[in-house]
Symmetry: D2
Subunit: 158 residues, 4 copies
């Protein structure tokens, strides 16, 4: 954490707030299940931006971006129209070219969903066929994400 000027969120847990509109719901009267992945992506983007790792810098300065490799999502309780949700993001694992985040979506009555998201750091614009090649994270990012992971209380996020 030392000399890193990134803003690590308190206890390594970043919070992102959003509200549910009609566009988010389905005919079952609840939030459409695929949309939780959109909220998680908004929250990840916000977390990285708040830590000083915005998209623009990623691609323009370092020629890298994060892509999603795998997601596990557990649906625990439905969210509904007008609900205010919070996405809480913590870092589970930080590798040389990969990153696993835990993202808990909390609603007014309790936890709605938990997502574990594995991201790979790649060079953008890979071939149409094979996808993109992994690329090591710039050291400053890795330090910031490691500091985020280390800031979480032991046993947190389980």
């Amino acid at each position: 954490m030392k000399r890193n000027d990134a803003a690590i969120p308190p206890q390594g847990r970043h919070r992102y707030a959003l509200r549910i509109y009609y566009e988010d719901t389905d005919a079952g009267g609840i939030v459409y299940h695929a949309n939780y992945l959109r909220y998680a992506e908004r929250a990840r983007t916000g977390a990285l931006r708040d830590m000083g790792i915005p998209h623009a810098e990623m691609t323009e300065q370092f020629g890298t971006m994060f892509v999603v490799r795998r997601i596990e999502v557990d649906y625990l309780m439905p969210a509904r129209l007008d609900d205010s949700l919070t996405v809480e993001t913590t870092a589970l694992e930080v590798g040389g070219a990969s990153l696993t985040l835990r993202q808990d979506v909390i609603g007014p009555h309790g936890q709605c969903a938990r997502l574990d998201v594995r991201l790979a750091c790649v060079a953008p614009g890979g071939s149409p066929v094979g996808g993109s090649k992994p690329k090591r994270m710039p050291p400053r990012w890795r330090e910031a994400l490691t500091a985020m992971r280390d800031a979480a209380p032991v046993g947190a996020g389980t």
Copy 2:
């Protein structure tokens, strides 16, 4: 018409079928209103492809693409989960670098929506600030679209 090898739809009216899934609906139990613009775009893409004007040719061979400049949409009757809809597309106006389509969305109980969509033919990748510059349609496309417009019965689509 004449030497044009494009497949003009009968009576100048292209039909595109789609079905309504949960993703399309909202908590009101009906199709979310913005989604009609998605269906219209699917139908336009299908119409152009069926007439021999696919996306790939547009950008790769001619360096042009259509962008939406204006849409008027009237919502007439809601569509619901599991409904089968048809989007009927006709050409209202064909200009040198622009095109106005009428797109009627028909459901099991009657017409759900009518969209009048004005498209401009542009060179892709315009400046981030000013948008894209208009560019004349390749003659073969213009002929095909004019033939589509002329194939509609007089007074149709009104």
Copy 3:
């Protein structure tokens, strides 16, 4: 405006801020055109909520809701990933059971889109076939919306 306790936005112009994420963009590198209708709906909901007319009250207390009858949208300039947008909402017309709003979407380089949206006040749960019947707005809402319209400078929104 008199005795109405609703919070009329300054100069009758409500502002709603949002940011563009990957979910909002398309392969053209810009915001997908149908999404402006989603932003406008978020902004309308926020405007009504801020004025003391939330969804919940609409349906639970008065048995009414607003549905979209017609939208005209002009696309003026593309918005892009990471852009911060503001949706500015003014009331153009306030009728007994209808309402026309103007919604301008402003990006970092200028205006991206203008939407004129006509809403009808209806009783929810109309028949599957015929849609919903118009229903007069509760007086308190109509007063608030009329005050919003009257608070705009003459000639504004044109």
Copy 4:
């Protein structure tokens, strides 16, 4: 399979075709990752409908519906604009009130994604707080789904 009149797909593998439009893609030039969950849901709905278990019958006749409890998705290769995709659905596990499907999304250059989706059979309209209570599947459905699972070659879907 015996006396069951449901149409079990050959080798227990249902195929659903779809095409990628602008609405499906993002500024990275590829299909937005959350959309694979939408395609999987379209394909599940199609599979159940083709097997004689449509939504309408589920809710109206039996008072049950399937909800998603958990999804694991691996992203293997990006899909792009205009691609034709096939979603192949097989039944991994069939329980009394639950169901696990494997859904492979295949593109023109190979497999794009694999989703394992666990569904619960519930009574619709559970409480806002606690979600919906599990409910046993009607015997006819369970027979059809078991027949689908048993029709897959041993070792398939691994």
